[in-house]
Symmetry: C2
Subunit: 190 residues, 2 copies
Amino acid sequence: MARMIAERADALPGLAEVFREYGYAGASLSLIGTATGLGRGSLYHFFPGGKQEMAAAVLADVAAWFDAAVFTPLEQADDPRAGIDSMMVAVDRYFGSGQRACLIGAWGLGATRDPFAEPIAAYFRRWIAALQSLLVQAGVAEDHAATLAQDVVSGIQGAVVLARALNDPSLFRATLGRLTARLYTALAAA
Amino acid sequence: MARMIAERADALPGLAEVFREYGYAGASLSLIGTATGLGRGSLYHFFPGGKQEMAAAVLADVAAWFDAAVFTPLEQADDPRAGIDSMMVAVDRYFGSGQRACLIGAWGLGATRDPFAEPIAAYFRRWIAALQSLLVQAGVAEDHAATLAQDVVSGIQGAVVLARALNDPSLFRATLGRLTARLYTALAAA
DNA sequence: CATCTCCTGTACCGATCGATACAGAATCGA
DNA sequence: TCGATTCTGTATCGATCGGTACAGGAGATG
């Protein structure tokens, strides 16, 4: 028998894919095994806590990715416009132009939210705060920056829902473009 | 043994509640039985096609409710502003100010979409078309009305996601207010 | 080569899944 | 009042669920 996988982190992408597509309840260990290429033995070796631990690990992994690829760049952007652009590029890539659902958003909608309420809420709070921080640093008034940041994050989530339901990636990209324009307008007025 | 329920329609609210909260895969027949007060016998009598038929019936029921409470009033509104207001009131009520998920939106995000892709897409197409129709009738340019209607429906879906994730009904209502303002602005400019 | 730790496949557990079969009570039309 | 129909509870089906136990091979360490 082989040690065929280097680390438990290698299982996370497949895990995330299954959870995203089938939800927590629908992600059976058979599906997970197929998607990750791991048998029950390896799975429970890496995640002794079972499905719940797998789900928590995936949530943490997604949050870490956004932290590095979106939130931190937003907060540390020298040029506000460049920060916004890089966020939109990362978002479009991550969500596959609206063909891949937002795992965290989707879990927040149902009963799956309950065991993970705090990490889910923290993800969105962090996103909104990072965007608001960028706007405030660029001179936008605090309260306007807060509602605008909420609108943009909310708008992205809505675009994921709508683009997937209508199976229309161009709708997603067009919505991102309009949200970008709203952010630019606020910057220009500041 | 009793005939305790008048019609199969009486089972739909409970059915919808379970599907909304637990998703298609997570809605077990035990949960469904508890929520509807019906045993397996009655359930399969009313829905010979099993879970799939229950799900289809719920989707159709939700769509019918929106048709009567939202879409048709939008299309037939004498006063555009009144039509928009009534839509927002109905939406706020239906989604419990963002505490109840959108069953159709949520199903569109995952694998549950596949068997129901057409009704799901039709629901959103109809909503957008109804809103666009109201805007065009009020004098808004066709293309502007189209993107604005998309933005509003998408914005509502995003607000459901965000408000539920953050467990903040006021965020939902505030977002509805801002979307209403955007619609009013477009009307005023037309 | 020996040994020890880490990983993996397999078999298996009890529980629950969705679905079916069917007898019988409630209700309706006559 | 008396079938015929409509609904309902229960028992049961095979399949699959999430989770556990454990033997044993691969790789590192010496």
